[in-house]
Amino acid sequence: MDAIVKKSSKRKWFFLLVLLLLVFFLSLFVGRYSISPIDVWRILLSPIFAQQPGEFAIEKSVIIGIRLPRTLLTMLVGAGLSISGAAFQGLFRNPLVSPDILGVSAGAGFGAVLGILLIGVTPVISLFALPFGVMSVVLACLLGKIRNATPVLSLVLAGIVVSSVFSALISLIKYAADPYDKLPAIIYWLMGSFTKASYDDLKLVTLPVLTGITVLLLIRWRINVLSLGDEEAHSLGVNPGRLRWLIIAAVTVVTASAVTVAGIIGWVGLVIPHMGRMIVGVDHKALLPATVVIGATFLTFIDIVARTATAAEIPIGILTAIIGAPFFAFLLKKTKGGWL
């Protein structure tokens, strides 16, 4: 029995990883600027097979300068947001939770929008987004620190409060912004986009996001224990309080970084964990790594559509909902919600 189970799960993993690889290469091959597949291979392999200098200068700029960093970034953000969502759903024992619940997206969004208002759309706004994101979570934690029987519930309520405040502040900034200049920039930024993905962005967020993901992966079996309740957790040698803060810290770092480079992207953190559960089950040991792979694949695929479907770039937050929701509904129907 074990052997059969193991074999089918190995097949699933193989399938997931192959899909990720396919989407990665698809993202490099596809775009508004047509490059034939052979030329793409030649450019990718150019460190090995030398070329005439100046040949393919534009194509190189497109593939290495535009598509590659963008693909890496979408994979990073997709993985980060998904594993954060799964971790939080385990932590709060609620399948409707997303990483935004403690206000990190609203806070980081506010920070970035404030930066746009005061300075303009420059890389400097990342310096605004990150601290505000972290600050909003700290506020939510302080607010939710009530000694009662359900610390989780008070955290959620505190998160709602903090999110609302920062959302209101974002609205205030939109109100004050110049309608011809700053306001369109702010609105576009808030809808989420990877248009300006660059190696600088990667340099900025790769370390925090990978660290957060690694931490969450390392503690993934303890999240299973959390779902048993605090007393059971203690008896199994897990300190639930400390574990909670660790998860919150990791998720905050990952999500704030994601918002900094890509704006507010909804749906991914909420729905990918469910897709993961459909495929590998509810055990967090398998679920968290699965969400990393599925999330990276999903967001990269959506971004391919966002930047290629039409001449104008479609904000990715819109697409994740439009593509993700029907697909999710389809899966829901097909498995009859068996994993819920």
Partner: protein
């Protein structure tokens, strides 16, 4: 017990009196006779026979009203973005009276703070026709609103005629419109035989987030009217954001940077914007990146100076066909004819950012 009731009764009494006193209907002003004007939204608006004070919400229209009126004296309020554009512009020199004009009645976007507006005591307010709630709000406050439409040459000309009627300056308004027509006819007759392949591909850059102008925009109009092709013409909207790859795919030969943003041609030519590589694009390789001028007002949207914009563009797109005039002379002539102002060569060079 009794004194409690007395206190409550007193409070209620004060509240009632307060409401009655505070809400007196506005005393019927002894208005001089009024007339009815039909605005661009088809509304019949009653305005005073003589207009002494106008509040202008749309950004380019402060300068248009100045141009039609010949003075800024009747403008009581304008948009803060128009005020910002004024700094360093020709309007600053020609109309110093506009420096003190209030912008406080605009509270974000095109929304109006009614109380601030009432303080200005305008006889009429000009507003965009799509701001219907704002228009209703102002009418409820007893201020007549003239609505104008945005986006095409026809709307611009209808608006000029309307404002001319409003201000009693119909002659001047039709002179301005005649100048627009003459310019447009002149240019279109000369380019009508130009073949498609000869039309340069142009790209309008609105901001660093790679927003451009689609088919329905005025920018598209001025590109096509002067014999160029808008690379973004297959986007049906007014404006849309694109990505760098799409711009590389289009490979425009000319890039126009909007005067609404702070970007300068050097930022594109020297690749100063992070995450964007413009170096492979024709326009950059051939040093054909232009910042849209600002004379009285920015030349991007429909405005009084649109004919100058068209002439400037025509010369850039087809220097062989339009080599018979100099933009310096045309600009000087425009300001002399309509404002009796002798603009200096240096100022014109500054406006047109003549490349050294």
């Amino acid at each position: 017990m009794l004194w409690k009731k007395a206190v409550i009764g007193l409070i209620i009494g004060l509240v009632i009196i307060g409401n009655v006193v505070g809400c007196q209907p506005a005393a019927d002003t002894q208005k001089s006779k009024t007339r009815t004007i039909t605005d661009m939204a088809g509304r019949k608006v009653e305005v005073p026979m003589q207009i002494h004070k106008i509040a202008v919400v749309p950004i380019p229209w402060a300068s248009v009203i100045y141009a039609i009126d010949g003075t800024g004296e009747r403008i009581a309020g304008m948009h803060p973005s128009a005020r910002k554009a004024m700094e360093g512009s020709v309007l600053d020199i020609l109309a110093p009276e506009l420096k003190g004009v209030s912008t406080a009645f605009i509270k974000g976007g095109f929304a109006v703070n009614t109380e601030e507006l009432i303080k200005l005591e305008p006889d009429v307010v000009i507003q965009w026709d799509d701001q219907q709630e704002e228009i209703k709000k102002m009418e409820n406050a007893g201020i007549p609103v003239i609505a104008i439409k945005y986006g095409t040459q026809e709307y611009l000309e209808s608006g000029i005629t309307l404002v001319g009627e409003l201000l009693g300056k119909e002659a001047r308004a039709s002179e301005i419109i005649r100048y627009h027509h003459e310019t447009l006819e002149n240019i279109s007759s000369r380019i009508k035989d130009v073949r498609e392949e000869k039309k340069p591909k142009a790209f309008y850059l609105r901001d660093e987030q790679l927003k451009t102008a689609g088919k329905n925009s005025y920018n598209n109009f001025w590109m096509e009217a002067t014999g160029a092709v808008n690379v973004a013409a297959d986007i049906p909207a007014h404006g849309a954001n694109v990505n760098m790859e799409q711009i590389i795919a289009w490979n425009p030969q000319i890039i126009y940077i909007s005067n609404f943003c702070e970007l300068q041609p050097e930022d594109i030519l020297e690749n100063k914007i992070k995450g964007q590589d413009w170096s492979g694009i024709d326009a950059v390789k051939n040093n054909r990146v232009y910042k849209i001028p600002l004379g009285l007002y920015r030349w991007d949207p429909p405005s009084v100076e649109s004919p100058l914009m068209l002439k400037w563009l025509a010369q850039i797109h087809h220097p062989d066909i339009f080599g018979d005039y100099s933009m310096v002379t045309e600009t000087k002539g425009f300001y002399k004819k309509f404002f009796n102002y002798d603009i200096t060569d240096e100022k014109v060079a500054e406006i047109l950012r003549v490349k050294k």
